[in-house]
Symmetry: C2
Subunit: 205 residues, 2 copies
DNA sequence: AGACCATGCCTAACGGTGTTAGAGAGTCAA
DNA sequence: TTGACTCTCTAACACCGTTAGGCATGGTCT
């Protein structure tokens, strides 16, 4: 049975959800496709190439969802939200994406939308471009750490997770941390992200 | 000859600079220490544990450099700058760091400095904590992409690097990108980072 | 002194990885 | 019928993290 390139990428993403990025091996993917591992190398020159295409597919839905005609700040906000959502949609999605450096169709679409919104805000071309990249960098860094957190301590069903023995930090050496311990331990990524985006947009003026 | 734990970590970081994170294998590290690979497992329970300690060592210098008594914005700015510098100080440093999730001494020091500066700015405890994390996330995401870029296209000595065929993007489909092409191709990470930090601080008010 | 035991290194090997070489079915055109 | 092209196969290579178990060394206890 012939295997199709897009179907391979889709199966790889599905497999990623099951086994995580460490378990995503060429042999495991081949087995999911009822094929032997070397066969994949007829369709993809290397595993990295496959990962690149997975990353590209991961953010494919983002651009289409955005209403590019909305107010600039709303465009940028929803773009960030959808980008994070896309990366979170698959286990280790952000890490997979960060490992690639694809300037593919989908990335260009996202970049174009963000950039034109920033230009509409009145920013000069140079500032808008840098801001566009910075926004993406923030979403990426945020989501990587979010997924890294939940993959290390998310397995514990306990709602009040306690990485290391963070609860007993020395309040004399780390007074500010001790004071904010409740917020730290809450790990409310949703509202933290929202604050980040709000801060960013407010900072752009 | 006995090998010392901190010396192993230091050698590992030096080796990382030479061979990159892909080449950083237990066998290669062992050879650099004039030792056989399994010997490392007497000192470290796993490679991940070694990587954790490398990440911890990577950001060790950061906290000490900061003048915690300076104006809050200056503290936050220099903290971000030094954090980025520390991650950039070794090849693939940011990627190594992002792969760990250590709540070690050094991280707590950095967090404490940032947090108390944010509280001094007048932010409430909840907002300050989230902002502290967001700042770290931005620096991390930024630096990961910066190093990812230079590791894929930095080898070319050519100053005007051209990832893929970015130069010939369709200006009718991506007008904003085409307009800002000069800035995109300049890849001036230093000033882009500075803008990012400025935006962030301005957004916090 | 002799027995013990933890330390720190070694060799050998296991199961797994990405990847390559090369053979062989199936299909379609000349 | 022949030949080329497409796609998958088996076998294997070099390398990976890691474990099992042995062999010196040196200090401690009886």
């Amino acid at each position: 049975m012939k295997i199709e390139k897009p179907a391979v990428v889709e199966t790889a993403l599905a497999l990623l959800d099951e086994v995580g990025s460490d378990g995503l091996t060429m042999r495991a993917l081949a087995k999911a496709l009822n094929v032997q591992a070397p066969t994949l190398y007829w369709h993809f020159p290397s595993k990295q190439d496959l990962l690149d295409q997975m990353a590209n597919a991961l953010i494919a839905p983002v651009a289409g969802i955005i209403d590019a005609d909305a107010a600039p700040d709303e465009v940028l906000r929803s773009l960030a939200v959808e980008l994070r959502k896309a990366l979170l949609s698959r286990r280790d999605g952000a890490r997979i994406y960060a490992g690639t450096f694809v300037m593919g169709e989908n990335v260009l679409n996202v970049a174009e939308i963000a950039l034109s919104a920033l230009l509409r805000k009145g920013l000069d071309e140079r500032t808008a471009t840098d801001a566009m990249f910075n926004l993406v960098y923030f979403v990426l860094g945020f989501t990587i750490e979010e997924q890294g957190f939940s993959s290390r301590w998310g397995s514990k069903a306990d709602a009040s997770v306690e990485p290391s023995d963070l609860t007993k930090i020395d309040s004399s050496r780390f007074p500010a941390l001790a004071q904010s311990l409740d917020t730290v331990l809450a790990w409310d990524f949703d509202s933290r992200f929202e604050l980040g985006i709000r801060t960013f947009l407010r900072g752009l003026g």
